[in-house]
């Protein structure tokens, strides 16, 4: 080979030599870069997974501690995870249509009205303290009906403080949405509706003996009040026995009976005005009459339930002092009722409303529950009420006798449609003879969840 080609070959070789290590270095660098990238991505994935893990743990911890919110036939309920705090929001809405018929129709005007519009707030704090608050916006007015708290540290001796139903009348103690008739019977006219005071109650013997004792401000018959009008107090007590309630198969397991009693001074307490089934006032006291002295009530009462059949009866005897001018006398009032019901669709009757086996849903052949109800009742004031000038025989009959029949259609646990027909005859209360009878047809649409 000549020298020039050798030189050229040598030169080419020398020039070619550096490019081989440079390519290798570039590949190594790329691999290193890729490894770093993979490591970085691996870390990012791990970080994301770990953060998700921590978030899930945090969410699980919060969910464990979170309060629960439910909505069902018992209303809307908010409950803390540990059960220490509970709030229930419910409502009771009753829309009535009253139609008066017959000669006595003039006493009352046909009307559609909101009979009760009562939102309810109830619940418990720290498991052992219950509270209950219920105002009423019906009939165009705002009244606080119930506002109390109850300490249940000892179940046999619960302490209730506030405004609530004093433990006297049986039908009064029944919830407004559970009564078999749209309006309560005549004995309830003579017992307090709501009063402010203290009560201790409980099962002295579980499922056998229930008791309640209380002291209250004192209110007119069938009335409610927010302040005491004197330093006198109304003392109440009630004992109710259900001797066979624990024996489910015993035909007497649905029997309950007992009595309430109350007594106290009445000086300054407003006089009551007694109303008919149709809610028209049939008895008022004469001008110048005041409550004076003492009032005592005795209310033997009972019920019996067997399958779809129910029977409720009570008798109220009250003796109250009145004064007009220099005349002060005690006057006795008496009232009784016997109410019977039968659920045609076979559901079990009890002190509370029945739950239909099948809610009303015509698409699925569900018709709800249908109940027939009938009652008779009587109210009388002793004759002395006229003799002493406490009432006028021309305007206030001292005797009323009612017969009521009705049908209740429970569409479901919450909704009920009722139609009642009531006939009330009077003894006295008119210039010539007796006050005209009241005949009234009342239809009610009701929804209640609490």
């Amino acid at each position: 080979m000549s020298r020039q080609p050798k030189l050229l070959i040598g030169l080419a070789f020398i020039l070619g030599m550096p490019s081989m290590p440079a390519r290798a270095q570039s590949t190594d660098q790329k691999i290193e870069d890729l490894e770093q990238k993979v490591e970085q991505l691996d870390q990012e994935v791990k970080v994301a997974e770990r953060n998700k893990e921590l978030q899930d743990a945090d969410a699980a911890s919060q969910a464990q501690n979170a309060a629960s919110v439910t909505a069902d036939t018992g209303g809307f309920t908010i409950k803390s995870n540990d059960g220490d705090f509970l709030l229930k929001i419910g409502a009771d809405l009753q829309v009535d249509n009253r139609a008066y018929v017959g000669d006595g129709a003039a006493a009352g005007a046909d009307t559609i009205l909101l009979r009760r519009v009562r939102p309810t707030f109830s619940g418990s704090v720290y498991k052992f303290v219950d509270f209950f608050f219920r105002p009423d916006f019906g009939l165009g007015s705002t009244v606080i009906y119930d506002a109390y708290l109850e300490l249940k540290y000892v179940s046999a001796a619960k302490v209730r403080v506030g405004k609530f139903k004093p433990p006297v009348g049986l039908e009064r103690l029944q919830s407004d949405d559970d009564t078999s008739f749209v309006e309560r019977g005549l004995p309830t006219l003579l017992v307090p509706s709501r009063d402010i005071g203290y009560q201790i109650s409980g099962d002295a013997v579980p499922q056998l003996v229930n008791y309640a004792v209380g002291v209250f401000n004192g209110v007119p018959d069938n009335g409610l009040g927010d302040v005491a009008v004197s330093s006198h107090r109304d003392y109440t007590a009630r004992l109710f026995l259900t001797p066979f309630s624990s024996a489910a198969k015993n035909p007497l397991s649905g029997l309950g009976f007992g009595s309430g009693i109350s007594g106290g001074g009445v000086d300054g307490i407003a006089l009551p005005a007694y109303k008919t089934f149709g809610q028209t006032t049939f008895f008022t006291f004469a001008s110048g009459v005041t409550s004076a002295g003492h009032r005592t009530r005795l209310t033997p009462q009972g019920y019996y339930y067997l399958g779809p059949f129910g029977l409720l009866s009570e008798y109220t005897l009250t003796e109250e002092g009145f004064k007009k001018g220099l005349v002060q006398k005690d006057i006795a009032f008496r009232a009784w009722q016997v109410a019977a019901t039968w659920i045609l669709t076979g559901e079990k009757k009890s002190f509370a409303s029945p739950t239909p086996r099948k809610s009303f849903d015509p698409h699925n052949h569900g018709w709800g529950a249908v109940e027939l109800a009938a009652r008779v009742g009587d109210f009388s004031a002793e004759k002395g009420i006229y003799n002493y000038g406490f009432a006028s025989s021309n305007t206030s009959p001292r005797h009323a006798h009612e017969v009521v029949g009705g049908v209740n259609w429970y569409l479901n646990r919450l909704v009920r449609i009722s139609v009642d027909y009531g006939n009330t005859n009077f003894g006295g209360g008119a210039v010539l003879g007796n006050r005209l009878s009241e005949r009234v047809l009342i239809a009610r649409f009701q929804i209640n969840f609490i």
């Binding site: 870390q43 791990k46 970080v47 997974e49 770990r50 953060n51 921590l54």
Partner: protein
């Protein structure tokens, strides 16, 4: 009087006959192993001394969270938390123990101390030597959330204290330093043990700022071939305190045993157990015995640099404090 005495004997006998006495120790996150050993030793000692069977239950979590749990009703007979501020909170907000609780036991109620160190991967691939390495771009730092973890607050203050030293006490520079450090934190666990899990088990991060005892335990568990401990040039002297929760112990009838339990921590046996679990013992004798176990580093206290925990908590960790200002998650 006779009747009362008879009743007391009857009740006492009934309670003894009823079985063991129970104690709940609410502690911070990384003390599980320590109190496992402490409890076993104390239960044995108490049985030998009194004949009473003792059952000690433990609850562990971020120190701040644990304090809140006790305030909210967790029935702790004793608390052994990461920092005095958390026990102060129980005293102030719930009134469960007196405000002078810290003076009731020696050494401000801290039977052992610890400090903050770094845990890195074996071989220290990212060459982490000191605090300033933690703010380098690309370094991933694992430390828990100071809002919930006592250890995290010690970590934060240790970093801040370092930065103050480096900058001649320039607060602005210290704030900037700590802000840069938290920019390198991808995951904020609620407690120190969770942070250790993130670093060791999940393999996340280049460095874990850790309780010294946590660092040693992690190395023991995972192996010296996987992790190594780096002692920074300067760190904070952590003094985790202990206290009887008076009102709860009184209600449970455990005041005496709770006091004895905490006093046991100061006993030679308790100090040995602490040292074996990599907590720096207060006892000079035990400390001398375990001197080689612990790295020697310059330590400062919360009182020296920050004027105490009340001031440090208010400035840095309360709502709207410095940590809230500098840490923006998902930045």
């Amino acid at each position: 009087m006779k009747l009362t005495a008879l009743l007391m004997v009857a009740v006492g006998s009934a309670s003894l006959a009823a079985g063991s006495v129970k104690l709940l120790n609410v502690s911070y996150d990384p003390t599980r192993e320590l109190y496992q050993n402490i409890n076993a030793a104390f239960v044995k000692q108490w049985k030998a001394k009194t004949g009473v069977d003792l059952v000690i239950s433990q609850s562990h979590g971020g120190s701040g969270s644990q304090a809140r749990s006790v305030i909210d009703g967790l029935q702790a007979d004793v608390v052994t938390l990461a920092l005095a501020y958390d026990i102060d909170a129980i005293a102030e907000k719930a009134g469960l123990l007196p405000k002078n609780w810290q003076s009731r036991l020696p050494d401000n109620s801290s039977p052992y101390t610890s400090t903050i160190v770094f845990l890195v991967r074996k071989g220290n691939p990212k060459r982490i030597k000191d605090w300033n390495d933690l703010v380098r771009p690309g370094i991933s730092v694992i430390t828990p959330n100071p809002k919930t973890s006592g250890g995290a607050r010690w970590n934060y203050l240790a970093a801040w204290g370092y930065a103050l030293r480096q900058s001649n006490n320039d607060e602005t520079k210290a704030r900037d330093f700590v802000a840069r450090l938290y920019k390198n934190v991808p995951v904020l666990d609620s407690g120190a043990r969770g942070a250790t899990t993130t670093f060791v088990q999940r393999g996340i991060g280049d460095v874990l700022i850790a309780w010294e005892n946590e660092a040693f335990l992690a190395i023991n568990e995972l192996g010296k071939d996987k992790l190594e401990l780096i002692a920074p040039s300067v760190s904070i002297l952590a003094e985790p305190p202990v206290a009887v929760v008076d009102k709860i112990a009184a209600r449970h009838g455990t005041a005496a045993v709770a006091k004895a339990y905490l006093e046991f921590l100061y006993s030679p046996e308790g100090q040995e157990i602490a040292a074996r679990n990599y907590y720096r013992p207060r006892s000079k004798e035990v400390a001398a015995k375990y001197d080689k176990q612990f790295p020697h580093l310059t330590l400062f206290t919360v009182d020296e640099v920050f004027g105490g925990w009340q001031k440090a908590q208010k400035k840095h960790f309360d709502e709207g404090g410095t940590f809230d200002q500098i840490y923006q998650p998902g930045r």
